[in-house]
């Protein structure tokens, strides 16, 4: 049974701070068979590679309001209770379509994503780069039964969105 230590870096991120050192010091204090449960205001994609090198697998789950809960598990064991939503995001295929919508006039980015998403086969995904979080797009995706994952890139200059057609 893996025990998870909670690390909530959302207050640090909201205050514009850099949570990396906090996460690393929490990591150093872990006992064997302990993992980290990280809460962040975005999907911490760059951290996944770092943690993998340190021997941790990750499963992530979107929380309400664009926030994320990530379980980092020592690699030789698997999480005992994989979060239901997290497992649903496993095995997403590579995107069938890639869009760069960063320089389109609004609301063209949204129109193009919806047009391309409607052409996807069952379970296929598309990925799109945007200038900002497409808040008006999400309800439209939801109404059409699509699932999505999104977050700002680590340098904060683009929003990366992956949309998956219902399978």
């Amino acid at each position: 049974m893996i025990q998870y230590i909670d690390v909530d870096v959302r207050p640090i991120l909201r205050a514009g701070g850099e949570p990396f050192s906090v996460i690393m010091s929490a990591l150093e204090n872990l006992a064997p068979r302990q993992g980290l449960r990280l809460y962040a205001t975005f999907k911490p994609i760059p951290l996944f590679a770092v943690m993998q090198k340190k021997g941790f697998a990750h499963t992530e789950q979107a929380l309400e309001g664009g926030e994320w809960e990530v379980l980092f598990t020592p690699a030789e064991t698997q999480p005992d209770e994989p979060a239901a939503a997290a497992s649903n995001f496993d095995n997403w295929p590579d995107p069938a379509v890639t869009l760069d919508n960063r320089d389109l006039d609004p609301p063209e980015p949204m129109v193009r994503i919806l047009a391309e998403a409607d052409k996807l086969g069952p379970g296929e995904t598309l990925s799109a780069l945007l200038r900002r979080e497409p808040v008006f797009l999400f309800p439209q995706l939801e109404k059409r039964g699509f699932r999505w994952l999104g977050g700002f890139t680590s340098d904060g200059t683009a929003y990366e969105l992956t949309v998956r057609a219902p399978s």
Binding site: G66, P106, V111, L114, A115, D118, V135, F136
Partner: protein, 445 residues
């Protein structure tokens, strides 16, 4: 759910706000209140509250119900409070105006209308503040912080207003009388400066960046603008209240607040200039071109204030100063942004369900900018002429300017109704299969 739905009652707020704007312009044309009457007369109170509560506050609330969720990328705390709040604000304002008319002898004496109106307005604004505040509080970064400070200023404004209403009805004892005698500038600073101006600034940061494809203003940079503006309002209100309590003059407090206010306006000008120069979209739409006339008016307000103080003529010309702030800066900006917001929301509501599945028009296909431009340009010209008329002490010229403003607002409203009715969308694209035409006054579920 993540993301932002269309706010159901934003159009209703806009319609109610525009109706009050016509009432206000009608009063100006008819010569009711300042400058024909005294600036402190009950008739002027009717005029000022029709403009600030009926027109500007309702329009601002309608816009915030839609855009605070956009600022924080979370749904509104409660969808169900917007319509009851509008009903309370309307009834409260009518009661307050009735009380002012009694005060001026235009209605039989029923001064209880004033406290009643105040209580109902407090309830209505209370619902708005709670709903928007609890939403913005979820992610208090960037422009959402302006909204929070604006809402706090709104609370200060209505607190003063409620004390005045009770005092005017004779229900507030000697303390109420003291506050009424010297607190009116604080009520005005908190309302016009804190609530309306800081909130308009905050929302404009995101709207301007969004519609011009510009990077967001750095949080720390806009934070300085906000801090200086908030300090100006807080200093005026808290320092002013202390001065009233100590029976000292307000002169020094208001002078310092004015310096801070001008500094905040200058910093805001720097931020907006940055958004314009960093924009990726070179072509400016009508709403942006017209917004620049509002920014020019705000600069004019600051310069006029400095000039009037330098020549020791501020108190004699406070009406002209307020007129330019209300109609040039705030009303002009709200009208220009309404034109864009209504088009965008109507487009999203109407064509969102079929987007990508059927050919749909662009947002710009809903508007006829060439036709609308003249109304906006003449409107601003009339506002500036009206300001000059007030400065020159020509009430008749002001009524002519107000008549021109009324015609232009009617022209703009006509354009907005045409947008809502999809009247300018070419036939084959107008109503593809699966699309329902929007209702004029609210968004369908």
């Amino acid at each position: 759910m993540i993301g932002t739905n269309i706010s159901r009652w934003t159009m209703t707020y806009f319609a109610a706000a525009l109706a009050w704007l016509f009432v206000a312009l009608g009063l100006l044309v008819a010569g009711v209140g300042y400058p024909a009457g005294d600036i402190a007369s009950p008739d002027t109170l009717v005029l000022v509250h029709v403009i600030c509560v009926g027109w500007l506050s309702l329009a601002m609330c309608g816009a915030l119900f839609q855009f605070v969720p956009v600022l924080v990328a979370k749904p509104l705390f409660s969808d169900k409070w917007a319509l009851p709040a509008l009903a309370l604000l309307t009834v409260g304002l009518l009661s307050l105006l009735g009380g002012f008319l009694c005060l001026g002898g235009r209605l039989p004496p029923a001064l209880w209308l004033l406290p009643l109106g105040a209580i109902v307005l407090v309830a209505g604004f209370g619902l708005v503040v709670l709903d928007l505040g609890l939403t913005a509080w979820l992610r208090p970064t960037g422009p959402a912080r302006f909204v929070l400070v604006g809402l706090a200023s709104l609370c200060a404004t209505i607190a003063f207003g409620a004390i005045f209403a009770f005092a005017l009805a004779g229900w507030a004892g000697s303390v109420g009388g003291v506050v009424l005698a010297s607190g009116i500038p604080l009520h005005a600073v908190a309302g016009l400066g804190g609530w309306l101006t800081l909130t308009a600034m905050g929302v404009s940061y995101r709207l301007l960046a969004m519609f011009m494809l510009a990077p967001d203003v750095d949080d720390r940079q806009s934070g300085v603008t906000l801090a200086v503006g908030a300090l100006a309002v807080a200093f005026a209100v808290a320092g002013g209240a202390l001065a009233v309590g100590l029976a000292a003059g307000l002169q020094i407090v208001l002078s310092i607040a004015a310096v801070l206010g001008i500094a905040s306006a200058a910093l805001y000008g720097r931020d907006v200039a940055g958004i314009f120069s960093n924009r990726k979209r070179r072509h400016l739409e009508l709403n942006m071109r017209m917004a620049t006339l509002s920014f020019a008016s705000l600069a004019g307000v600051a310069l006029l204030g400095i000039a009037l103080v330098a020549f020791d003529a501020f108190l004699a010309n406070v009406g002209a100063f307020a007129f330019l702030a209300i109609f040039g800066w705030l009303s002009g900006l709200v009208l220009a942004k309404l034109y864009k917001i209504v088009a965008f929301l109507t487009w999203l509501e109407t064509y969102g369900p079929v987007m990508g599945r059927a050919p749909t028009p662009r947002v710009q296909d809903l508007v006829a900018e060439d036709r609308a431009t003249k109304w906006f340009v003449i409107y601003y010209a009339a506002v500036w002429a009206g300001t000059a008329a007030l400065l020159g002490g020509e009430p008749a010229a002001l009524r002519v300017a107000a008549a021109a403003m009324t015609v232009c607002v009617a022209g703009i409203v006509h354009e907005i109704v045409r947008i809502r009715r999809l009247a300018d969308v070419a036939r084959p694209l107008r109503l593809p299969v699966g699309v329902v035409a929007p209702h004029l006054l609210f968004a369908r579920k």
